[in-house]
Symmetry: C2
Subunit: 707 residues, 2 copies
């Protein structure tokens, strides 16, 4: 229920999105913890206010729900935005169809050239053999809106290879305002040379002053079907995971409430950010009020005008509608429990079947082990995963939330799918050449997550512990001086100190603690945040994104939790990058962070410099980033001691004296093993939702006749 | 076959180690690749030269083998050492039994105090109720050798909890020379106060000037048997991995040669460093000549004299003899293939049964996936693992080498087992308090690995690629300046540039390339080295280790590969820390690194600041460090495209039109599933080999009557 929905018949300013508004935390906590009233429900409606001289998208709050005449209000929803313009942001998509017509006419004006270069053209006709891609965001200079577009080849197979097919010819247009007659071409770029006008480019081309380079075309190199010799023994069934006792967790399918081994949580889902987790508790004690994706950036750089101006903020497209059905046995074990997700489109609710999976898994290594003189002991590493995958255009983002027996939990992102490659010419400083005519366009993925910790109540503090070199003598060292190391501890006092990075050599550790709650040894009962291959944005003050993604500048940010700052980003931040609906930097106003309700805004991310190994698809194994939340002095001993998934083997004199398995079931059971095709014949092909070629007012390709 | 072997009867300068000497790379390559003669075999013998005024350990080379009268030479083996003293290093262990007697007599001199404090004593008697631990290394100031020892409680259960039982009373001794009559006590330390003499300490104690603190004792808090309520549904069998078709790899058990899905390698094993891999090839092309552990440091810091002077270099103890039998179903999947390892002790060869495991595994997420308009595709993430675990005293180090279908391989270390804790008094700046009387003593684990890459021959170069912010205009930008980013590439030219760290925000990437071998697009066919949670030593110029572990100072080091520099460390580096047998820094002599046979010396590691969750045992899930070697522009496309472990589901109009499984076997097969106790009744209890309390001349506790 969001933006890219076709207008309802007869409406010129349609509601393009209707979604239940997440209640404010203050109201929700008063209800859940305080016995207060159930929060009043409101709908969040987005209006595509296109029938106006200055089109806008409008965020509206409607309620209380259910709707009753006389009491239901329709009011701007801007208390959750840092930009106070009555919930309105300009709408750069309002004339997308007219703009497409204009851009096609420009492309048609050089059809003789594209035919000469590639025997293909883009004119806006049904039988076009080329298309164009623009940048996201478009150029924004005050009210002036411009765009660069690049010719792209069209795949000839069913494979989704379009993002690998740039042709290397670019054109620049001023598309300011709503009057297409005032739109104009401002230049062309090919092979390192800029031409101020179409005439200049045409003269150069037909005057043989332009070096003709090859284009990119679909082919086996870009396709994911198996190729090459079969690997030795690869026709045999590979090892896989089985669940002989079925699921060992509880799930309320209606409420999406889950319990596993002392953990419990609710699963939320929305259009912008997809899956999120709420009220995560361990042994009934809340750890996190909310944990979920806020925004995902893919910021490219390159020598050409489209790659260098591409910086996707993917909630503009939405992680919800792109959370497609998962492939059992591939995306998750075949025995996983599957949940559906829904989103609103065209006056009705659509469902992605099997788009969240839940499963227990045994890792390939134990949780703990020890070999001693007379015994060896080990505990299996059984963990629980909640997963969804959103394929936003070319990239598949796999989100995994994992719960461990030691009271830890993690969030991980992996990226697969097709890279968006650059045309190779002059791009040496921005990527490897990965085919004769393609450059793996370098880009930073940065994904911001909200981690709203509530340890023993909402009032928490972030402690920083640095491991530092130290030179000192000791009472016992008789004056001798040692080069050694120590711990330096401090607290994040206020929001001025609230943005920082992971230190070189992992010297800083951060903990969320409650200063009022120490364990019996006097240490804070806390959770540590550990990064695993994270990254923030390389560039400083990106010219492309301006204020639209200031959350990407540092690894960690800490703010006071406010009902007015529920999310670090907004799905329309790309519509006005200087003055976006939510400017994260505005969250920082020097507020005290000592024993306050805190939110940690944490970045996952990866620098991706695609190489030939990213063809045809990027592998999840290397494109990976994660965060672990680990209980630290939170329990008196490691709670993994509680599981039965443990063994102790006692021996002596060369003989085994005892094998203790701690009440694990151990009978031999026959298992009907069906290794490969589990469920896949029942897989549901889905509403076609793609990012490219992107048509803001026709995102689901309905006009192409795909259901 | 190494040092800690009891003297053969009648020998005063026994051979304590006999091992086949690894042939020089120049000889081995000439044989393997060049059709040259088989390298001459030599034995590496270590002599415990104790019957001397100045006892030494002597490295000797004996050969050629087999031994023949007249031709076999016995010569100092010092060409592999940076210290040229005829293969000799001083032997600080020669009088370990006498020293123990001396130390016991000192402890006995305060038995009245220890009885008063803890109702326990250490006197050297069979029925002692306390023991002592010294530091490793001992204090070394030229020829002066001193030591700090701490009283430790003795476990009362079978559990291996001793490293958790310091009592907080320390004494300082000068044990220089071989004459025990000249050894003397130089002070006592308790609860922050130093006493110059035993008399002073006794007077203070019995004058009631000493605050009496509690000791540490064995108990359920320190024991690993299951405790607490059973978790919900935890009596049911958990999910696990099965291998319906058995192993899909080939292994020559005699030669320890392995082939899997295009990969091949040999497994080596030695006393010092345990398992290593040799001649690692993918599709017959050598990637690495050698990959293996060199040394493992655990450097502690603390307020007390033992923790602050403890910096284990664990090859002194040896990873080979501590590579115990693995627990099938826990340490490795129950279906894993097991190999044995051997080491030499007391004139015979001992075997650890099932101490290396080999297995294929399906990860919980796919290798690649993509959802498109008309199809979804995914490839299973099937990988192959070679694993051993060495329990060196309190810590269990799990070493896993993993091979992937995309041509990547990784090396990972995980740590479990018992922490070595500090007595809590005055230790706030060096750890968390984890019980009433215990501090989790902070320490850095740093583990050095040798990665001898040979890409298309031995002559390789290390390329560094930095991702840096850039401010620039473009030919097409009409003067507009952009804040963006770019790649800055350079080569490591010589050994002066050969030591460096991973940059903040992962800005630098390193590649091993062969400048003479580019792919068809002009890019070097290389392998990238990617760190995953690595660390180097926090402190600068450690006073404790001096020159014994200079490899720990930086994340990455690159040198020319030399027959004279086969290993970055030596098992006796702790015997003379100022002037150790191998000083890594001596490898760096400004040699040119451009297209040379290179070795990368890479550190894994973790800063460990134990918290209550490390009780009773540290969990593998968080104590983890790894390196991935990833082919980069090495193949024309990702070689994962070759596997059959793949599916494509085609759909349209809400229906599945085709499911392609690419020749995977897919029949349903019944599986006899035996989930828990697989093999464990057949587990072999082993020769007892422990680190603590460590007796250099009786390391295997034979005098305690354990077989």
């Amino acid at each position: 229920m969001k933006k890219y929905l076709p207008s309802p018949p007869g409406s010129s300013n349609p509601s393009i999105r209707i979604e239940l508004l997440q209640p404010n935390k203050t109201d929700a906590l008063a209800y859940v913890d305080g016995g207060g009233p159930e929060p009043v429900k409101y709908a969040h409606v987005v209006i595509d206010h296109g029938a106006s001289e200055t089109p806008t998208y409008d965020d509206i709050r409607v309620g209380p729900l259910p709707i009753k005449n006389g009491t239901t209000k329709w009011e701007p929803l801007d208390y959750v935005l840092t930009r106070k313009t009555c919930g309105r942001v300009r709408n750069l998509d309002a004339d997308s169809k007219l703009r497409r017509t204009f851009l096609a006419s420009v492309a048609a004006s050089v059809a003789d050239i594209t035919m000469d270069l590639w025997n293909a053209s883009y004119t806006g006709a049904q039988n076009d053999t080329l298309t164009i891609w623009g940048t996201d965001p478009v150029y924004q200079d005050g009210d002036t809106i411009k765009r660069w577009d690049v010719f792209m080849n069209i795949p000839t197979s069913i494979f989704d290879v379009q993002s690998l097919l740039p042709m290397g010819l670019y054109y620049f247009s001023d598309v300011t305002g709503r009057d297409p007659s005032k739109w104009k071409v401002e230049g062309w770029y090919y092979n390192g040379v800029f031409y101020e006008t179409t005439e200049e480019f045409r003269d150069a081309y037909w005057g043989n002053e332009v070096e003709k380079l090859g284009g990119n075309a679909d082919g086996p190199w870009a396709q994911t079907d198996r190729q090459g010799d079969m690997l030795p023994q690869d026709d045999k069934v590979a090892p896989t995971a089985v669940a002989p006792a079925g699921g060992r967790f509880s799930v309320d399918l209606q409420e999406k409430y889950v319990e596993w081994m002392g953990w419990s949580f609710m699963i939320g889902f929305d259009f912008d950010t997809g899956m999120s987790l709420h009220d995560i508790r361990y042994k009934d004690q809340r750890i996190l009020y909310e944990l979920g994706l806020q925004e995902a950036m893919a910021h490219y750089a390159g020598s050409d005008p489209t790659q260098s101006h591409t910086a996707y903020l993917d909630t503009y497209y939405g992680f919800g509608p792109y959370a497609f059905g998962l492939l059992p046995g591939y995306d998750c074990p075949a025995y996983a429990t599957m949940l559906n997700t829904s989103f609103y489109q065209t006056e009705s609710t659509h469902t992605h079947v099997n788009s969240i999976c839940l499963f227990e898994f045994e890792g390939d290594y134990p949780m703990v082990r020890h070999t001693a003189a007379n015994y060896a002991s080990a505990t299996k590493n059984i963990y629980f995963v909640v997963r969804s995958v959103s394929t936003v255009g070319n990239y598949d983002y796999m989100f995994s939330y994992t719960f461990f027996l030691d009271g830890s939990l993690s969030v991980e992102v992996r990226a697969s799918g097709y890279i968006q490659a650059a045309y190779y010419a002059k791009n040496e400083d921005y990527g490897f050449k990965i085919t004769d005519t393609l450059s793996g366009s370098m880009h930073d993925h940065v994904l911001n997550f909200k981690a709203d910790f509530d340890l023993f109540g909402v009032n928490n503090t972030v402690q920083v512990q640095e491991q530092v070199p130290e030179t000192r003598s000791y009472p016992w060292s008789k004056g001798k001086v040692f080069n050694t190391m120590k711990l330096k501890r401090s607290f994040i006092e206020n929001e001025d100190e609230g943005r920082f990075d992971w230190s070189p050599n992992s010297a800083n550790q951060i903990f969320v603690v409650n200063k009022d709650v120490k364990n019996k040894y006097g240490e804070y009962r806390g959770y540590r945040v550990l990064p695993s291959n994270t990254a923030h944005l390389t560039m400083k003050e990106s010219t492309v994104l301006k204020n639209a993604a200031r959350w990407s500048e540092h690894d960690v940010a800490v703010t006071v939790c406010k009902d007015t700052e529920p999310r670090s980003s907004h799905h329309y931040n790309n519509q006005d990058t200087s003055y976006p609906p939510v400017n994260f930097i505005d969250f920082f106003d020097s507020e005290n962070l000592d024993q306050k309700d805190l939110v940690l805004w944490l970045n996952l991310g990866m620098h991706h410099i695609p190489h030939t190994g990213d063809l045809p698809n990027t592998v999840f194994t290397t494109a990976h980033s994660g965060l672990l939340f680990m209980p630290t002095n939170y329990f008196d001993v490691g709670v993994n001691i509680q599981t039965t998934q443990m063994v102790k083997v006692e021996y002596g004199g060369g003989k085994i004296s005892n094998v203790t398995t701690f009440k694990q079931q151990s009978e031999t059971c026959p298992l009907n093993y069906k290794p490969v095709e589990f469920n896949l014949a029942d897989y549901k092909g889905d509403v076609v939702v793609r990012k490219f070629p992107y048509s803001p007012n026709d995102p689901f390709y309905e006009t192409l006749g795909v259901p």
